[in-house]
Assembly symmetry: D3
Homo-oligomer: 312 residues x 6
């Protein structure tokens, strides 16, 4: 059996290269020309009859990265690839999975439909914001998780007394997974109505008094959620030894500055998106390249992915 | 402008009839023959050029109701209806919105694809188990909510001191909505890891000591979740005055008996599914017929549904 | 080349098992959970990269079996199967191939569209009620016939003088096939207008006086057609030695009792559907497992099916 | 409400014109240019926002007529028609509704898929060779029948003693419809095996001795089937007063000569296809223009077609 | 009949506003939120049952504008609009209408497929780079032309002796149209092989000696083509009175500076894209708002667009 | 790896046969029956699991050839072919790639959509009239060119002084390719407006005085374009030694007579369509069979086609 073939656009070349190297496969050459008016034109190498994996997260610069991905998929399809898998470690627009008020779009579906129309036969994602992403896609989605990788790295940073903290209700299941992997209890920050009046406050479910904490979330965008959670933890007597772990460290806007002012001892992240903005903070990057490489090898070889998949 | 036209199958004739009556529109005649081998054959009346609404929840007997709905949609399409809207107050298979382990199906998507293939131009649902249902559907989905109706009825039953309780993490957003509508605080039951060891227990976030409680959930199937929540509430000193509210009272299997043995003072439900199994319990049914009738009228007339929609 | 992979749901496990055994291939494990509210959730074993055949007739309990089949197909597709063939030995809803009056559905098309939407790449059926089924399907259909198998078994039961009888006009082509295979003449029962007035009666075309007869039909549902045919045969002086052969012995409702009261010496059937209801009658079951196994082997190996196909 | 708009290509302009006239609607101008290399290019008049009916049977010259119809539909769709209905009074390729031997195409489905792809929103056909045509089509099909019209005309030609004759098994249902409409008994010619040996012969079920007969079929192509039926009737002592009725008088090849040599007193036909080849025979043409005009008026107005439809 | 409804995103609000004003119709409110990570989320006002026109050229910033347009279309579809027309006065990626070397994408098709998948029922474009755009689109395309508008404005600027110049072979048809409208002869600049050797040069077909010239092109991107054409014209003795006209003045990169250094007396353009970059040059903007408004009015009213369309 | 499998219909059997022979592969047997009413019914041999190439140009008799191709594709798909490639050396209807006036169809798209609907997985074409054909197709298109083959043959016929002539603007790019391959200069005939008045004339850009010329075009239909070009060349003093080269020698209608009266020394063509009509002229046929055979071999083997492709 031939090798899987990897190629990538401009969203995250280092990751694509690492995946190819981990697989020991010669990558498909791919140049993406950017014209002065902003139009993109990829030229991919020979892919006829190949099982191709296009590695392109759709993190910040999401619209550029998304359209570039569509063009790459189209080029592979027209070039005669036997199967084209879009490997989108961070899947942008996943938060738009419903209309929360009238008149909105459902961006997750729009992006998924465009990818299928452009020729994706299959998607691979990591820790998407909505685990129901696969139900929204016309083509099969393999939903990987980086939680075990991060948990493995975190064992160095979290003392026995550490409490895993979900910074809001959306991350509770994720926090439970970390709790299980690390053998630690879980606490939850949530906005709640404390009385019958209009008063709302952020409440902490769980006991963190005097204990180190580990805040986990699938992604960190502006850092505002983390900042609020830290404030609640400190108000509840948490020890000032706070770690933060996330799969997708977008850190857009003022996020690096915001996090720099918090008593965060370490930020443990993956490289599903470029990690340049993490560099000014105390951090540790656990690469997902081996995870993706293993997933690609198993997909190409027709083997089950079971242990790599998000579940529950 | 002509009237909207209502028809229904065998899943919940009383509700269809009530919607038609609320709209003051003559229903479309519809007979569904069941052959001895179980095959169904609908005969719908004259629908050519009409704006048709097929009222059919897919509650227990879900597979029968789902296939019958497919046939009804097909009959309307072939009969020349201008537009066919599937009104599915309770949408079965909504819990299958992802694979939680390898090898599973994603039933929500399967059902949605079948409905679209059979000719549904649009769906109307009430409080679906997953609010992202619309992102999974190839045709537009209007997601209504019965929470305000139930909250209105509940004002008779919940004293000022009452605490709204979410019986698990999946219902917290719903509980928050009830809390807001009723002006009551919210507590949450959750399974959690209380220490670094393997011990898991059900924990209560929030204070219910000596207070009446109202447990809310989108649906009650076997009643096991409610039973567990009641046990936790009592263990935390809740007053024995416990109300339960739900949009979809499936009450399958031993649910009526199970609930009958709990100190539940009243079960407040809607009639998105037939409510026969609720009858043996202290209960109150708030019909969704006016909600559906208003939604149909607005959809037919091209008016915004805003206040009827689930949001947030 | 790898082996074809067989799996089955709950409609007819014995047949699926027999097909796998005939092929000497390890079946794919498959559990279908039935929740208390009637929803089904299959978990299929490892099928990535495999050529999978899902054996599931859609006989009585047709709606349950059909939805289960949709879910099984979806699970296989999502699980990464290279190709998924729905093997539906008895295809329910095939009689709904047109609207015989305004307002009806066309169930055959509804079922076929749902199967294609759920991920069937191809269908295999046996003696469908309408041989034009393939023209209604968006995916290729292989139409097998069990007539030669049944004819082979029947040689034991039909004396030389036997006349093959079609119990109505719909089965004449089938009766001609049996006639050819067995070297016997063919007679036809039909409802007809015998005069210019309103009088209608059942007429027999062909001579059966004093001769044994063999009534053949593609399926027996309630047995009413057979009962009427027997009455006509006896009225025309047929010998009381009457055999009956059919591919699909549904025998729903009172069919076993009805047939038990007829002078039928033997009922020769296949096992495209479970044959439990045949057991109380003098019968002979010729299994289609070898036919399906051979078809699967040929399809998997890229060989022509010619001799297995219904033709003419 | 505006009028329906009629246009037609070159397959049967007289019929299109008659339909428009019967409706009292100004036809849409339409020119179809034929280039020297055989390519066709229609130019249709203003159809934006209109409810358009394209009248084009696909009789002999079927491939030319079919492609022309595709181009006409495309032109209407691009021209902004609100809805485009293909009115195909004779639907060619309907006999290819299954593969009767391996390696064949299923032309009915090919034609239907091409029509849907080219922009047909709906089809109207008359007495198609296969009544299951609607199940093969991705867009709704209205299946009209000309049988009552022909029966009405036939009352002049068929004495009381007349027997309706189906010339083969495929036309029996049709013959029964004529029998019911005319109050006449029905006989059937069929090829059959008269003994256990290889001898096959054409048999007549029913008594025609000394009686006038009326042979009916949905279409007459080469006339060979009619010729064989006449031979059988005469052999069974039929009176030499034989009428023939058919919806679609294709009369291709030597059919006019063949029929001219038979003792056929009158050929009663419709004009679903041009009737030029009928002219040399004793004949009567009953136009379907009023039938189509009424169907178009009802479809346009959103009224039920019930009495115009083929049923049973 | 109700009014057409106009809305727009952020690509060119002034144009959308001008179209709405020209139509005298209240625009649909529309806000597009841009999140810190670059994701867009539109909120459109009430569009249920409306005939909506989304005005959004996909000029520079093309990927942002394209994705925003997809989201706007999705929001309109989900909001219940009866019909959604994407009005894309400048259609980006139109130059990618084929692969000019192996491995490329065909961006025009990718963009068109994404628009159709997101819910566009129809497109309106002006002077697209490839007039075959409509053949690439799954939904109908109305191809308008601004050439008559620009020609009308140009009558002020082009003396009788003026020669219309196509700056390359791709614009010859366009130049011919200007020639016809203005009653001027046409010359063509083309790169050619002047001898059998490798020498290539830019040649001028036509006589411009001592005459004013008007260079026309569908779009000006970097200005390089215009610069080269001016050089050729001057080399052939053209008078230094050179006008330039174009429908789409992208003027990306150094285009304004480049054009500022040329002896161009006036740049006559439309506002299919924002014209800010034109401001530093001697220029004249002829707005396409009335053209679009008239097209929308005719489309909405079901009238022919004939005189507004590009032809030939 | 198995061999590619070739089959063909009736449009150009000699070419199909030559391709199969060049590949050394046993062709798939294929009979196409033509019924007296003009309906076609192919029977293709065993193709299950095969990589099949159906060779069928759609030249004159275009509608017959197109429908036959649809049926052949359908037969292959239903017969279980693994992949079906339509090899259409001359692609009819390619000139209908836009509406040049209101009310027209876009035949290129209609044909492409019908081919995709009938089961083509991929197309192979040679020198299509519009190189953007691939952007109009839902399935990938490989666009080959015969220009190098013809140029190779032409070296015998074109003296050093020869000028390559494009007979109109549409063929300029093609002429440039010949110019490059042959190392000759290029001249262009074009209709132009020579003054500000209404006078239009055919102009020649380039110098041909006293020189031999080679007129090139992608196709020759009626020969009228060539005739006009010859007239212009002679008027500009061209030597009477004129060669003509074209990929697709349709030569319909009076083309052979028309060309016979011109001072054309040789007509160099390929056999993408049958070349019978070329025979009466001084000619040379360069077969495309080796080109197609190489393309098929590369496609089947998963190798790049680069040097065979039209580019630029």
């Amino acid at each position: 059996m031939t090798n899987p073939r990897i190629l990538w656009g401009t969203a995250h070349p280092a990751l694509g290269d690492a995946v190819a190297e981990a697989l020991g496969t010669e990558p498909v050459e791919c140049e993406v020309e950017r014209f002065p008016d902003g139009e993109l034109q990829p030229v991919v190498g020979h892919v006829r009859g190949e099982d191709v994996y296009v590695v392109q997260p759709t993190g910040p610069g999401v619209n550029e990265h998304l359209v570039e991905l569509l063009l790459l998929l189209d080029a592979c399809r027209r070039g005669g690839a036997q199967r084209v898998t879009a490997v989108v470690p961070y899947f942008g627009y996943a938060r738009q999975d419903r209309r929360t008020r009238a008149g909105q779009s459902v961006g997750a579906r729009v992006a998924l439909d465009a990818l299928a129309a452009a020729g994706a036969d299959r998607l691979v994602v990591i820790d998407p914001h909505t685990p129901a992403l696969e139900a929204m896609s016309a083509v099969p989605v393999e939903t990987l998780t980086a939680t075990p990788l991060l948990a493995d790295t975190l064992t160095e940073y979290v003392p026995d007394a550490t409490v895993v903290v979900s910074p809001d209700l959306g991350a509770v299941k994720l926090a439970e997974r970390y709790g299980t992997l690390l053998g630690r209890p879980v606490a939850v920050v949530r906005k709640t109505r404390l009385s019958g009046t209009d008063v709302r406050a952020e409440e902490l479910a769980g006991d963190v008094a005097g204990r180190p904490t580990l805040i986990v979330d699938d992604m960190i965008s502006t850092g505002a959620t983390i900042e609020a959670a830290v404030r609640v933890l400190l108000a509840h007597g948490s020890a000032p030894d706070i770690s933060v772990a996330t799969t997708h460290p977008l850190l857009v806007g003022r996020a690096p500055e915001r996090l720099a002012h918090l008593p965060v001892s370490v930020l443990v992240v993956t490289d599903t998106v470029p990690t340049g903005r993490v560099r000014t903070l105390p951090h540790r990057v656990r690469t997902v390249a081996p995870l993706l490489a293993e997933a690609v090898a198993l997909l190409h070889g027709g083997e089950p992915l079971d242990t790599l998949l998000m579940s529950g």
